[in-house]
Amino acid sequence: MQIIIVTTIVIALVGVIVGAGLVYTGNRFHVEVDEREAAVREVLPGNNCGACGFAGCDAMAAAIAKGEAPVNGCPVGGAPVARQIGEIMGTSADAAERRVAFVRCKGSCEVTHNQGNYIGINDCRAAALSGINVTECDYGCMGFGTCAQVCPQDAINVVNGVAVVNRARCVGCGLCVKACPKHLIELVPESKRVIVQCSNRDKGPMVKKVCTAGCIGCGICQKQCAFDAIHVSDNLASVNYENCVQCGRCVAKCPAKVITEPESVSD
């Protein structure tokens, strides 16, 4: 009888001590879990493209929950995802317009040529480092498709020697912008369709020597524009997307036909 009593007491004591220990360690090593982080992670697309600047969607979710990243910081998810994250975080998502990549070069094989014959790694960045300039135009697309290689959405194709963006597929992650050694790609608001498709900053006659489709910096577009939305600086026209109402007057008047609505390859 006595054995049973002693055993019960000992077990009860052990239970109390272990319980107290558990309570102590539970408090001591408590990890603050933000439930919103998991919720945000659920909403994010989950393709870990890294376009937001964080190391994948988990890191992005943590950053949003801590308030270190904006709720509309995911370029892939766009407005719908931003709205949902905004609801979770209790802030309104002033969703930015979807932006898509645009290659500012029209230098296809018909209008410009390569100098010599490049043999080596099939990569624009490697070719740019080879010590010689592969294309005749110092500024133009080399067409080895490094942008297409880095694109997580398979949205860029090299067509006839120049990279072309599939606007429907592009999620505006900007990886191609970073990869292009000639800095030809920029992100433009999707609705804007009047864009200068050239990056050559040389004077007109020199541009004409190397490419028949280049901007010669004549300034006709600037004179035509009633909205102060296109300017020629450094021998190259550029559009101010905020002012541009897309009347299309400069597109019609451009002698080099370099201000164009972007053509897009579709599926």
Binding site: Q115, G116, N117, I119, G120, I121, D123, R125, A126, L129, S130, G131, I132, N133, V134, D138, D202, M206
Partner: protein
Amino acid sequence: MRKTFRGGVHPAYHKELSREQALRPFEAKGEMVYPLAHHIGKPAKPVVKKNDPVLVGQRIAEADGYVSANIFSACSGKVKAVEKRRTLSGTMQECVVIDNDGQYAKAEGFGTREDVSGLTNQQIVDRVRDAGIIGLGGAGFPTHVKLSPKAPDDIKYVIANGAECEPYLTCNDQLMRTQADAIVEGLELMLRLFKNAHGVVAIEDNKPVAIAAMTQAAQGHNRIRVLTMDTKYPQGGEKSLISAIAGKDYPARMLPADVGCIVENVGTILAIQRAVVFREPLFTHCFTLTGDAVKNPGNYMVPDGASFAELLEYSGGLKEGVTLKKALAGGPMMGIAMASLDVPIQKMNNGLTLLTDDPAETAEAQMTACLHCGRCTTVCPLGLMPQLMADAIVDKDMDRFENRLYGLECMQCGSCSYICPAKRPLTQMFKQAKAEITARKRAEAGGKK
């Protein structure tokens, strides 16, 4: 002192094409083009305008900053324009273009021997700087910067680089045969700057005539000795020479001066002698025109700014009935493939190799997967492991490439690409990976500010 470094390769040298051809002057008749960014560092600022008359040896652009160099005209005539021209790299660069009148009328103020025994060290360096001397071995680093290390008394060796390990090229060989006394005098001038240093003239053993000439010229000069090196590529690389002569290896972030060495090409040393003793600025240098497509291979003293195409025409052009498949500024190992011959010769261009066959094309057709034979590791003069480095690049593991395989130490000598039986473009991969890492580091450093 050892005779060579660890690793290296033995490419076919083909020096017999132009070895016995004496250095001849080349007087260009066509217009001369001077890129303002002809050296490492900041581009020079032009000091002439359109229609200004110029003479041989007249300064046409001045150094803009400490790591920069003056540029001098090698012809007389008048300035045609200061405009963008296509250069060796294929890009358009700002250049001074001179309409050559073919008279070669000289400017005043140089050409007579002066007594230089009373010059201070600073005066010697100033004369070198004023003469616009840059390294003629290939990189084009301003020489006055090299001659002004932080601790001049710690310099143990001043190495005159006459190795000329690049296949095909022979102009330094000829230069040492004919100008041995002047080179020794130039080396003595450099030794005056470094009181604890010894002068070493390093020559590969495939140039016996040059070795004999230099040995004779160096007789009676206690601080100078001629060292016969093994013939092996890249013997003439700065790191290879220092490894052999001083027995020191150093990482990429250090300069030769940090391990007590100054390495100058023999052509540069001759230019130093001309600049200090004759006050002559640098506007000509030695040059080899060679290759199996050339009718008359030879060695020339070329004026800066003349066109490669004009030199070829002057020499007699291509052989009849051959098609030019590959043009290289320099030799086949370190040279730059050219898209057009109609570009100006710059100071650091020491050769033009014209071939009837394009080895790069052949190699690309034969390329296979890596065989893991390890030959690249055997030949790497820096003891790197190119095969593992290439694996890391394919895996996009730049951290492994940089921190575990020391990829940034690669000096891109091309030995691994040369020896690779699978014809993998190893050197190009490393060059690209290095550029990517440096760009990322620069961006990070910029972000921190």
